[in-house]
Amino acid sequence: MHKLDFFTQKRLSFGLFVMVLIVLTYATIIFTEYNVAKGFTSIPKAVRWATANFYPDAAAIKKLPAILAKLSDTILMSVASATVASFFAFFVAIFGAQTTRINVWFSVFARGIATVFRNIDVSAWALILLFSFGQSSFTGYFALFFVTFGFMVRVLIETIDEVSTDSVEALRATGASYFAIITQSVIPSCLPQLVSWVLFMIETNIRSATLVGILTGTGIGYSFDIYYKSLNYNAASLVIVVIVISVSAIEAVSNWIRRAVL
């Protein structure tokens, strides 16, 4: 049989890949009953509406102190949940990492728990925790806590195995105790990475906290929801401006810290 040359083969497999994607996309559009035409016409409509109604005006600026108070609630909750969850996750990761585990079964157990925690979406956690904590800050706090915990256990296990394997081996050869190995080698060598990941989770949590706030009635998400539902779009747009500024500022600070530390 005639063998196709290299470029033709590549072109064929690429064409097949694109074809499969197009067919899948078309099938999904039909299945989800997504209205493509309405999607396209909605974009210019949204732009026209936004330029006419969606900007902060003088009356909205008067609400700024109230919005900033809610924003600080959200940021504080994000920092607290990321920090405390990472602290616990670090211990679990030490017992779960291949380099430092004390027991194979505990390691499997730790990874399993972390998989469950991070794969339940933060909005689902919020809806579950509403049963226990009602519309209090605890609901949002624990929703962010669980997801952060699951994520941090996974990345910290990888970090420990990556960063400290050699130094742990060296210390073990000198006859150092388990406790000494952890405090003298694992913790100091992982700390910069740990802090970098905590900063990443704080950024993620602030975005998630907005969503959780809409579901649980707390923080900046709640202020947006109230203004939005009462059709006060000027104030709602001010909430967005405030979120954009604070998210960008926190990203800039954590990038600066990351560059200095890593």
Partner: protein, 269 residues
């Protein structure tokens, strides 16, 4: 007597100083945060106490009451479909714009404009984009798809353009020297050498969009299994049904994660 000298084992430098300051500030902010929590009359320890029995109801005795199993699976696939659609749309938009945002492919002024705009798009949480589009398109799948596509495109433009900037400049220059035009360089050098990076970013975004689609069902009326969860939590107050939905979502999320892990492992071989 011998003179003694002190050897500093771990000298202080800027990195350790900033590290310590960061950790201490995080601890202080966390401590302060706990004093500001809005309890709304909810007793914390009673809630923690209830958590145990709620978790056992959720995870040990899941059953469906208000919808059938078939409807649940159908709604799960609606959510998956929304995640898929927005990833494809976002990727298609991002592929074009990322070429104009990469510093080695486009003029500097253009990359600055596009990167600035996408930074703004990413700074607004997805749910707010969906709600903004919902004003003109109405709450539902159209607003959800538009809002999620917007945010995905912003995210993927950043990821793609950084992948383009990372590729070996030699390949580009070799093509340029042999007289290839911009489009030929893009198709023969840039896209081929960054294809695996683009695929991994897109897959990662699909994982994100799947969980966002759940959230949009719950918070922005996008339907799917997120809406079922919202009803079970806020309307029927049925933890057992919530448990069934949780398992359904968890099953697909774990399949996705396992797929991503295997893909990563096959790349590093």
């Amino acid at each position: 007597m011998q003179p003694t000298t002190t050897i500093i084992v771990r000298p202080w430098n800027a990195a350790t100083l900033i590290l310590r300051i960061t950790i201490i500030s995080l601890v202080i902010i966390t401590g302060y945060a706990f004093t500001t929590f809005n309890t709304r009359g909810v007793d914390f320890w009673a809630g923690v106490d209830m958590l145990g029995s709620n978790f056992s109801a959720l995870l040990l005795t899941p059953y469906l009451k208000n919808i059938t199993f078939d409807v649940m699976v159908h709604n799960l696939f609606i959510t998956i479909g929304l995640g898929f659609l927005t990833t494809i749309f976002g990727a298609a938009i991002a592929l074009g714009l990322a070429l104009l945002a990469a510093q080695n492919l486009a003029p500097r002024w253009l990359t600055i404009i596009i990167k600035g705009l996408t930074a703004f798009v990413r700074a607004v949480p997805t749910v707010l984009w969906v709600l903004i589009f919902a004003v003109s398109a109405g709450l539902g799948s159209v607003a959800a798809v538009l809002g999620m596509t917007f945010h995905s495109a912003g995210y993927l433009i950043k990821a793609y353009s950084e992948s383009f900037e990372e590729i070996d400049n030699g390949t580009n220059e070799a093509h340029k020297a042999s007289g290839a035009n911009w489009l030929q360089i893009v198709f023969k050098a840039v896209l081929t050498s960054s294809a695996t990076a683009l695929l991994s970013w897109t897959f990662l975004r699909f994982e994100i969009n799947f969980s966002t689609a759940i959230a949009m069902g719950a918070a922005a009326g996008a339907g799917g299994i997120g809406y079922d969860m919202f009803m079970a939590s806020g309307f029927y107050l049925n933890l057992h049904e919530m448990g069934a939905f949780t398992y359904a979502v968890l099953a697909f999320a774990i399949v996705l994660e396992a797929g991503a892990t295997r893909y990563k492992a096959s790349l590093s071989k």
